[in-house]
Symmetry: C2
Subunit: 229 residues, 2 copies
């Protein structure tokens, strides 16, 4: 059992604003005004400023001198940059996992993945809540991998990319009805590679699924804004 | 010519404290007290809190609930974690550079590297200031590479690791008198690989030098704290 310290006020504000950005209620390019947010939530401007720094670290806002914080863009170029580095770091996580642990050590993580597969198969017919559960279960598998790989810098960097990735991926999951099946197959392939101690195979599977996700996001983006290049 | 907005107060404080950490005047594990710093620098506690969030992002302090900010540790395990991810991201930078640009496009960056080589050869005999100049010139080459690769997430992540890497590398450069020659050779090999359009070769050279640097840092750490494992 792990005890956790209560969230700081800045973290609570960051979570609130972050949820509005990830869900699309705050649009790309929209300004997030310190004073307005402070008034709406009845908190100090200092706490809002801290929250915006946290959101900047999570790649959801950009902070410009004088102009202040702006919800970060979702152009194809930015999605490509994001997936380029995210896929690379995920592959690193997979490789480190295989370097340090045998399939016997990975029994717990394999069990988690199987639960996730079941969840994904069942989610095909259901709605938004199921989507959220599958995405969350996927991140839970990653968190378990962090504990085994034990690289705080890799963990922190991946965690900071998580909200931006979720934001793009929700977009794609809403459109593509076959995505859950693909997610299920991905995790089946992951268990197979881990089970066989096949590090190269694991990296290939991660890269393939990452690239697929990237393409889905780019497609969705193009449908939403056909004039983008 | 680029105009730059003046640094925010928080950024100025972060730079001041960061310099004290990188140079070793603030020791690993030491607490950085918000109120004390605010008093010493005659600034608000809010600005100091913002500065500490910036330093956390740069991996120089860790912030714990209740305990506050503490200068991050420099154990062998942490140095290994840091170099693991840093080397991976540098290799990615090199690979992307070769994917997008031919050696003809890279003339400017090659010129910069040659200046750096000259600097490194001359620095062998001189002191701390020369060290700083060589390290800075190395980062300048990276900044030029950022502009060509144009991935803001990769740039941001690498830039955030820069202070922590500098901190470990200064440690190593102070000890090893042959390090400048190795740096010079590294940049010669980089130019050769780029010139031949040899992406795999470039990645290999980056990885080799990164690993060498890691070993130097680990050795220095062991000499300073022989009881560490």
């Amino acid at each position: 059992m792990r005890f956790q310290a209560p969230e700081s006020l800045a973290e609570q504000i960051a979570r609130h604003l972050g949820h509005r950005i990830v869900s699309g209620r705050l649009a790309p390019g929209e300004r997030v005004q310190e004073m307005k947010v402070a008034g709406e939530l009845d908190v100090s401007r200092g706490s809002v400023r801290e929250a915006l720094l946290i959101l900047e670290r999570r790649h959801l806002v950009e902070i410009f001198p004088r102009r202040g914080a702006v919800v970060s863009q979702l152009s194809p170029a930015l999605v490509n940059s994001l997936y380029d580095i995210y896929i690379e770091l995920l592959c690193m996580l997979g490789r480190k996992l295989m370097e340090r642990w045998s399939s016997v050590d990975l029994v717990v993580i394999m069990g988690q993945i199987q639960q996730l597969q079941t969840l994904a198969s069942a989610s095909e017919k259901t709605g938004d809540e199921a989507t959220e559960r599958v995405v969350e279960a996927g991140f839970e598998v990653m968190r378990h991998a962090y504990r085994l790989v034990d690289n705080p810098f890799l963990e922190e960097t991946l965690e900071n990319f998580k909200p931006a990735i979720s934001r793009t991926y929700y977009l794609a999951l809403k459109k593509g009805p076959g995505e859950f099946m693909k997610t299920e197959r991905f995790f089946r392939q992951v268990t197979e590679a881990v089970d066989q101690g096949d590090a190269d195979g694991l990296v290939a599977v991660i890269r393939y699924f990452g690239e697929h996700q990237r393409q889905q996001v780019l497609k969705t983006l193009k449908q939403a804004q056909p004039d983008l290049t």
